[in-house]
C-alpha cells in the first residue's frame, strides 16, 4: 500500500485501532475527540466491527469492558471531563484485568475549560484518577504518524498485560493534519491475549502464574467464570482473606513494575553530550526539539528527552542523567505535573526549571529556548 495521506491525529487513532484489530468502540461525543468516534462509526461496520454511541462516558467505559469480555478488542475515546467520568470503570477494568484502550484527547481545564484548545492537564489524572491505588500504562504521541503506531501499541499492551491502557493525546496532535505514509495493515503486529489451555473445570481466571498474567477466556466459549470488582481469589470469587487480598493487589500493581523496562519507552535527541535537558511530551516536544536545535546552533549543549510512555515514568533514565546534567527544563501545558516526577526521579540532584502554559496555546520554541539560555 504505502501511499501518502494527509490525515489528522484523531483519524490516525481510528485507523490505528482498525489496523490493530479493534472491532468494538463505545463513546460519547466530546470535543476535541469526536472525530475518532465519527471515523469509526463509518468504518467499523464495514470491517465487521461494532460502534455504539452511549448515553455518557460511564456507560462507554462499561460497554467496552463488556465487549472485551466477549473477546473483542475494544476502545473508547474522550476528553478531560469524560475521562473523569470514566475513572470508575477504568478501575473496574484494572481490578478485573480486562484489556481495553481509552483515548483521552486533553483539552484546557479545569472543568469544562477550553474544549477546542490544547492542554496537558490530565497527566496526573491518568496516573492517579481512579480510586484505590491502580497502576497505569499511558502512551503519548508527538506526531500523527506516531499516533497511529502508538494506538496499535496500546491495543497490544492491553492484551499483553491484561489491563486498561491510555493513549494520551492533546488537541494539537489530535486535530493537526500531517502527511503520513501508513504501513500495510496486514503487516501490523498484533498481540493476542493469553488464552487458557486447560479444561474449563480446571480454569482459574485469576490464577497466580509465573508471569503474573492469568490466561483469559472469552465469555461464551465454555469457560464459565466469575468476574467481580470486589477483591477476589484466584477462582475469581470475592475474598476477604488478608493474604489473598494482599497477593491480588500487589500482583495487579506489580505487573506493570515487573515489566517496567519492557513497557517504558523514551526518545532521546542530542543527549550524548548534553548539559541541559529539555523534558517534554506530546505536542510540546515538537517545540522542544525545535528549541534544542536552535540552542545547538548557538553553541549550547542542549538535548531532548521525550517519554513516549509517560506512565510508567522513565525513572531510571532521569536518575542516570541527573548527575551529568547542568539543568533539566520541563515544558508542559499545565502548571507542573510531570515536573514533580522529574524532581522525584532525579532526587533534585540537578537544577530543574519548569516552562508552563495554561492559556490554550502551544508552548513556542522561543519560550523553551529562553529557558535554555537562562540556565546555560
Amino acid at each position: 500500500m504505502e501511499k501518502p495521506a494527509l490525515i489528522s491525529g484523531n483519524e490516525a487513532v481510528a485507523y490505528g485501532a482498525l489496523a490493530a484489530g479493534v472491532r468494538f468502540f463505545a463513546g460519547y461525543p466530546i470535543t476535541p475527540s469526536s472525530e475518532i468516534a465519527e471515523t469509526l462509526s463509518e468504518l467499523l461496520p464495514r470491517m465487521g466491527g461494532k460502534f455504539v454511541q452511549m448515553e455518557d462516558e460511564l456507560a462507554s467505559m462499561g460497554a467496552i469492558v463488556g465487549a472485551s469480555l466477549a473477546g473483542v478488542n475494544s476502545m473508547t475515546a474522550t476528553s478531560g471531563p469524560g475521562f473523569s467520568l470514566m475513572q470508575e470503570n477504568i478501575g473496574f477494568a484494572f481490578m478485573t484485568e480486562v484489556p481495553c484502550v481509552i483515548v483521552n484527547v486533553q483539552r484546557g481545564g479545569p472543568s469544562t475549560g477550553l474544549p477546542t484548545k490544547p492542554s496537558q492537564g490530565d497527566v496526573m489524572q491518568t496516573r492517579w484518577g481512579t480510586h484505590g491505588g491502580c497502576n497505569t500504562i499511558a502512551l503519548c504521541p508527538w506526531s500523527v504518524r506516531e499516533t497511529f503506531d502508538l494506538t496499535i501499541d496500546c491495543v497490544n499492551l492491553a492484551n499483553r498485560y491484561r489491563l486498561p491502557v491510555v493513549l494520551l493525546l492533546d488537541e494539537v496532535i489530535a486535530h493537526m493534519r500531517e502527511k503520513v505514509v501508513l504501513p500495510s495493515f496486514g503487516g501490523v503486529k498484533k498481540v493476542q491475549r493469553k488464552k487458557p489451555t486447560c479444561l474449563p473445570q480446571e480454569y482459574l481466571p485469576y490464577e497466580i502464574t509465573e508471569d503474573d498474567i492469568p490466561p483469559m477466556a472469552d465469555f461464551g466459549e465454555g469457560y464459565r467464570y466469575h468476574v467481580t470488582g470486589l477483591t477476589h481469589d484466584p477462582t475469581g470469587f470475592p475474598t476477604s482473606n488478608a493474604k489473598e487480598i494482599d497477593q491480588l493487589v500487589r500482583r495487579l500493581y506489580g505487573k506493570i513494575e515487573r515489566y517496567r523496562d519492557e513497557i517504558t519507552r523514551i526518545e532521546e535527541e542530542y543527549l550524548a553530550d548534553a548539559q541541559i535537558l529539555v523534558f517534554a511530551y506530546g505536542s510540546v516536544s515538537r517545540s522542544a526539539i525545535s528549541a534544542v536545535k536552535e540552542a545547538r546552533a548557538r553553541g549550547i549543549k542542549a538535548g531532548l528527552l521525550r517519554p513516549v510512555s509517560i506512565w510508567p515514568f522513565p525513572d531510571k533514565h532521569i536518575s542516570r542523567l541527573a548527575d551529568q546534567l547542568k539543568a533539566i527544563i520541563v515544558a508542559e501545558m499545565n502548571l507542573g505535573q510531570m515536573i514533580g516526577e522529574v524532581r522525584r526521579a532525579s532526587c533534585e540532584r540537578v537544577k530543574i526549571l519548569g516552562v508552563t502554559r495554561v492559556d490554550g496555546e502551544l508552548i513556542t520554541p522561543d519560550e523553551i529556548l529562553t529557558a535554555i539560555q537562562e540556565v546555560s
Partner: protein, 288 residues
C-alpha cells in the same frame, strides 16, 4: 429440583442474603426458566451491579459479571453487541437500577437491546443498611428518612415503557409461578425486556415499617398484588393500594443488535471503497 442444582455454584453457599430476603427466590426463578428453555449454560451471562442483588451471579454457574454500582446494563450492552449469541440476564436492585443507574436504564430500554433485565425492588438500599431509594414509598421510614420519606417513588413499568422497551412486566417473589412465566416471556421476547419484582427486605425495610418478619412482608405482597386480568374487573376504589402484576406491556419494535447486523451487511457489500480507505490501506482489511 435436583436437576436444577447443576446451575448453582454450591461451593459458594451459604449466600450473603438475610433470612427472609427475596433475591434467592428470584435466583430460583431464573434457573428454572433457563432449564425450561434449555439454554446452553455456556451461552448464559448473568450481569449485576452493586447491592444485595449484585451478589446473585456469584452463585450461578454461568458466565457471571458483577460490575459497578448502577452500570450492569452498560456492560451487558457491550457484551451483547460484541457477541449477540449470548443470552444475557441483568439483575439489578432498585437503588442500583433507578438511582445511580437510572440513566442507563432508560437508554438501554430506548436502544432496545435484546437483554432480559430484572429489577429486584425491595424499596430500600439493603446492603448499605436501609437508606431510602427511588422506590421507597412516600412516608416510609429509612435510616436516611428517620422522619418518613418525602420523595415519591418511580412508577417503574411506566418509566421503562415510556423509554421504549419491548416488554415490561411486574411480579412478586410471593407469586413465583407467575414470576417464572414473566421471566420466561421476557427471555423469549426480542428486544429489551424488564421484569420488576417486588421482593421483601425484612431487615432493611420491614423492621422500620411495621413489617418485622419476612412472613408479614410476604403476606403484604399476597394481599396487595392483583393480576392484570383480575384488576381489569375491579373499580378504582378496589384498586386503591393494589399493585398490578403480570405482562403490563408488550410490543414489536426493532431490536438493536439485529438492526446493527443488518446495517453491517448493508454497508459491507457496498462496492465502492472510500478515498480514505484506499489512501490508508483500509481497503486491505476489506479483502481479508
Amino acid at each position: 429440583m435436583g436437576r436444577l442444582l447443576k446451575y448453582l455454584r454450591l461451593d459458594k453457599f451459604p449466600t450473603v442474603w438475610c433470612a427472609g430476603c427475596g433475591v434467592g427466590i428470584v435466583m430460583g426463578c431464573i434457573i428454572r426458566v433457563v432449564d425450561k428453555l434449555k439454554v446452553n449454560p455456556d451461552k448464559v451471562v448473568i450481569v449485576s451491579g452493586i447491592g444485595c442483588s449484585g451478589r446473585m451471579p456469584g452463585y450461578l454457574d454461568f458466565n457471571t459479571l458483577h460490575t459497578t454500582h448502577g452500570r450492569a446494563l452498560v456492560f451487558a450492552t457491550g457484551l451483547k453487541l460484541a457477541k449477540p449469541s449470548l443470552e444475557i440476564i441483568v439483575v439489578m436492585g432498585d437503588g442500583d437500577a433507578l438511582a445511580i443507574g437510572g440513566n442507563h436504564l432508560i437508554h438501554a430500554a430506548r436502544r432496545n437491546v435484546n437483554l432480559t433485565s430484572i429489577i429486584i425492588n425491595n424499596w430500600i438500599y439493603g446492603m448499605t443498611g436501609g437508606q431510602y431509594s427511588p422506590a421507597t414509598p412516600r412516608g416510609a421510614f429509612a435510616t436516611t428518612a428517620p422522619y418518613g420519606n418525602l420523595e415519591p417513588p418511580f412508577e417503574v413499568p411506566e418509566l421503562v415503557r415510556g423509554s421504549g422497551a419491548s416488554y415490561v412486566a411486574r411480579g412478586t417473589v410471593y407469586h413465583t409461578r407467575q414470576l417464572d412465566r414473566l421471566i420466561e416471556r421476557g427471555m423469549r421476547k426480542e428486544g429489551f425486556g424488564l421484569v420488576e419484582v417486588l421482593s421483601p427486605c425484612p431487615v432493611g425495610f420491614g423492621r422500620r415499617n411495621q413489617m418485622k418478619s419476612a412472613i408479614a412482608m410476604m403476606r403484604w405482597q399476597k394481599d396487595r398484588a392483583v393480576s392484570l386480568k383480575r384488576a381489569s374487573k375491579m373499580n378504582e376504589e378496589e384498586l386503591k393500594d393494589k399493585i398490578i402484576t403480570g405482562v403490563l406491556f408488550e410490543r414489536e419494535a426493532p431490536e438493536y443488535t439485529q438492526e446493527y447486523e443488518r446495517l453491517m451487511s448493508r454497508v459491507k457489500t457496498r462496492k465502492e471503497i472510500g478515498k480514505r480507505e484506499i489512501q490508508t490501506g483500509l481497503g486491505e482489511i476489506h479483502e481479508e
